[in-house]
Symmetry: D2
Subunit: 344 residues, 4 copies
């Protein structure tokens, strides 16, 4: 880290900062510019980093303290250059293929799920999504079928061969969800629910971690770091839009996160255009854009009769719309997969 001194810092204040650094067992490395002095802190700060920074920041004469290293390690491409490729069922997430997760927002009943599962399986989905435990903004909305929903998902997998991704909302649900699902999803609202991150970090199934509505990319990777540092290296990141001042769309899909994450981390990245936009007629364009930007896959909501859905009908594709979109995704993916090396 670097301690930037105020322009008016006195020699005594500069020496005070140096002594503070050395008392902590670290080395001060001074650089005198034309206006101010900058003091580099060299040495193994490790776990004490945040604390050391906080203390230095309030010493007399200090203007700001700036970290140099990024705070994520296990999820960082700098420390783990090779792509993480995750085995799910007979397929893989990451590693050059295109993952297409599709299915209903909420599982409503057996018929609705099986019709959707059959439909998306026939049209090229590679993973089936469906909500059994549902986080809802209002306590008065439909909260999901719970364990019954998990059992229906397992039946749909049996029938179609598609692996299952579904959300887990609290640590005590991890075991039952892991017993039924192939991928455990952590929702946007739980991105910084640390007990939950640690619980899925101890599970034996891959985890898909959605970006929080106002999470920076660095915080998102720190949340992934919680999971990986708890023992589970199989983390998939899912961009689903961030909150901005724009109100025509529910959220603003941050597609630039895709190539940015490709540089910062080795983990695969999926994009969810359904939740980001909240509008069915925006889903296809945004799915195509995500694939063109190099995403490892997309996740979309599909419902056999969106007008009757118990949740998020407004943003669900029909089976026909999904069937029409899927081959275009593959064509775009084929175009950009051929591009050599880094994205320019």
């Amino acid at each position: 880290m670097l301690v930037v001194m105020a322009v008016a810092a006195t020699e005594d204040e500069i020496q005070g900062v140096r002594r503070h650094i050395e008392k902590d067992g670290l080395t001060a490395h001074e650089s005198r510019g034309s206006e101010r002095v900058v003091i580099g802190v060299v040495g193994d700060v490790g776990l004490r980093k945040e604390q050391v920074m906080g203390h230095l920041a309030v010493l007399p004469g200090v203007d700001t303290v700036t970290p140099i290293s990024r705070p994520f390690k296990l999820t960082s491409r700098e420390f783990h250059p090779e792509d993480t490729v995750i085995e799910v069922g007979d397929g893989r997430v990451g590693g050059g293929g295109l993952t297409v997760m599709a299915g209903p927002c909420s599982i409503e009943d057996r018929d609705q799920l099986m019709r959707t599962a059959d439909g998306v399986a026939a049209s090229g989905a590679t993973i089936l999504r469906g909500g059994a435990f549902k986080p809802r903004t209002s306590p008065y909305s439909f909260q999901g079928l719970g364990v019954e929903g998990l059992e229906l998902l397992a039946e749909a997998r049996e029938r179609t061969g598609l692996p299952i991704v579904t959300e887990v909302m609290e640590p005590s649900q991890v075991d039952v969800v892991a017993a039924h699902a192939d991928i455990l999803q952590v929702g946007a609202r739980n991105m910084q629910n640390y007990p939950l991150l640690m619980a899925v970090g101890r599970a034996a199934k891959p985890v898909m971690l959605k970006r929080g509505l106002s999470a920076t990319i660095e915080e998102w990777l720190m949340a992934a770091e919680y999971i990986v540092s708890s023992g589970n290296p199989d983390v998939i990141l899912c961009e689903r839009g961030i909150r901005t001042f724009e109100t025509y769309t529910r959220n603003t899909l941050d597609i630039a996160a895709v190539p940015l994450l490709e540089r910062l981390t080795h983990l695969p990245v999926i994009v969810d255009p359904s939740h980001a936009t909240g509008k069915r007629w925006l889903v296809r364009s945004m799915a195509l854009a995500a694939v063109a930007a190099g995403a490892d896959g997309i996740m979309v909501e599909v419902h056999p009769e969106p007008d009757l859905a118990l949740s998020d009908g407004e943003q669900s594709l029909t089976l026909e719309q999904f069937a029409e979109m899927a081959p275009v995704l593959d064509q775009i993916h084929a175009e950009v997969a051929g591009l050599a090396g880094e994205t320019v």
Copy 2:
């Protein structure tokens, strides 16, 4: 709710919307303007509201569907005009007095907590705060003393007479925290952790609910609605800054939330300038501003030696700074308490 038809909507589409509304057992109430038709939906929608809106939104010829009623009920001043006043220890939160919560970010050891508790009790704090379970962005940071911290808090209460507020991070911790603390705090990152909201909603202690970093005021009240509808009417709201593009401060303290909430809800409102700003030298100004705006109280971090704090030292006041600030808060509170009726 209101269904706004597109300018180009045909008579058939308008009739289609009417039929859909009536099939749902509701009444359509049509209003023809110079450019378009608006159809009011009258009747008891209740729990189906979100679903009904979603279905109408995708019918042919529909431009937008707008809700009329606010989604929060139990927490709404429209349905509960009298202020909620919450008994805590021998004192009260809300009801005209000024609540001053003070204490360390994290409880680090017995000595640090007792020195802080004694100090803030002597200078006018009315409630002692202190973190035993700590949500930390990095898995490598200090995570709190846990149950040992709760026991130290209980000892500090014994010693000073101050009631205790401390954070609970997951449903399985609610019992043990409720056994030691007087107020259960739900942190900003957990504002939409629904299992946790329902768990504290079943507890027999008041709950202080912090605003999520990117939560709208409506979402925040919906989160409070989860707690109240689970059986616990004693909810305190705590504004702690929202995320914006500005980077000089950690977050942007939304002080206008104070008079706005006074109009929208009957629940008391506390402001936390320490977390909002992240900088010690901004805390006093923002605490004074919050009280001038009519807040029911403030919560600030205080540490006997901030330069040695294990967390958030940069934003903690010293005991001397707290002692100097407390009487000014009271003076400002006295000035504004005399103002008749609504804030202009």
Copy 3:
């Protein structure tokens, strides 16, 4: 517009609102729901709209006043269903083709501009961009070559046949810029500079209007409305990223604006990934994503030696990188151009 009454509104207050509406020569259309009364305002409000809304909002018993119609008219697809296609030189912007604007951020000297112009012309650019008048955050940064830059642009057009787009910063510059350029660009910081909007609205050249850094789509269309209502129907919209809390990229490119604008307006839409991301290695991915989402074109910065650029070198493509990207844009455009009807 609709006047939503408070739950506790009295009959007198409801009648007061009705009388106020009728006194204004409008008709009140009342709808009584289970909780509250909603009063529709029918009649020709026209220019008085904002004012009428403001007055109703403060009457006793009124909760909120909601507009129904969108405020933009001339730029609205509802009132002008056919796509606007703009003739520029021998080519067109909009109408199904792909526009590729490329060139340096700032024109630095004759050699730099001609090398860039020759290079991008040879690789498939359809319009040459280049800044002569430069809006710079710092008064101490390079401010552009001014009229000399415009003359160099005209020479480059002569040489390559490519039409020219360049920025105009104030009303008094409009004539000289219009005398040299084929498209007048209004920059993001000037999106709500109304005297400038009216001045380019009186010019005889097409205008490219960049979205303001924190502009909603509605405000952006209102700014376009200023230009069109001043007499100039040839407006091109340019999405260039909005300001959010994310700091890894300079701005967040809002690609969903592309299909959204396709529905709301008949004007063509260009995307600028260079300014949005601020990082050269993100430009190609975002350009491909924009085209996949259905944009009418892109605008990118290209410099023969970005490491020596006087401005924005960090985000400029080399001539080789541009040449490599251009055919992929065409391929993606060909894939999505074949999609029937609305974007799902």
Copy 4:
């Protein structure tokens, strides 16, 4: 500035960066940490700063380039420690007193302005505000009385003795506005209208610069730097709310900007709660909060009959409400003016 090398940077890349720095006539100052190398750039970069940073950022092996100095100089407290106090009429802005600017949003006619001027003068306003040239989001809204409005303002000054502040929207208006007004206001939408900033920078009257809706504090100070570096040292900053995702208020008033600016700059700071909130019943609370936070003054909209106002009636105080608020502002100001030294 500091060049942070990638963890995997090779020795050759490090030497390449050093050579690049030295070729530019600057000195490289290397610091080797446990993970990476950081290279400080020492020397007089001056005007080339942005350009030098851009070039270094794209060299092989470079991770990021971080500026150390703040980009504003003339407006910086580091380089100009004493408060700027601005003489306006017989009074002063800054320097310990409380400035109260009040008046109508738009000047509508002689009677409305004189009634307002007389009223606010009698109740303690120190400066009269009023809009003659109005920037309006819609081209169809009332655009102000123009020069006739300026003449009415001058008459109101004659009558009441209050100095006048009014907005100037384009460079060609500066002379006529400066001939009538005592303070030239640059509106939020024009904060980065550089030709306008330079034009008011050459005027002989003080300038009040409103913060842009999405401007960082640093950008705001850079805009002030444009004015001061053009020759006009008398700049007043006006916080008027920033754009966030919250929709209950028009904007989010960033009151923490007040103590933050006190530390960063020597210029006086005024807060405008009327535009920030957009709601009359929030104005008093926010004005009190601003004064409690240490603002040098406030600016509020006042109208004798807000229900009939041609613009912004919803947020205007009545004369009675203003008269009731003014003495409380003075009391709060007196409480906080006594606080010694820095705001904690």
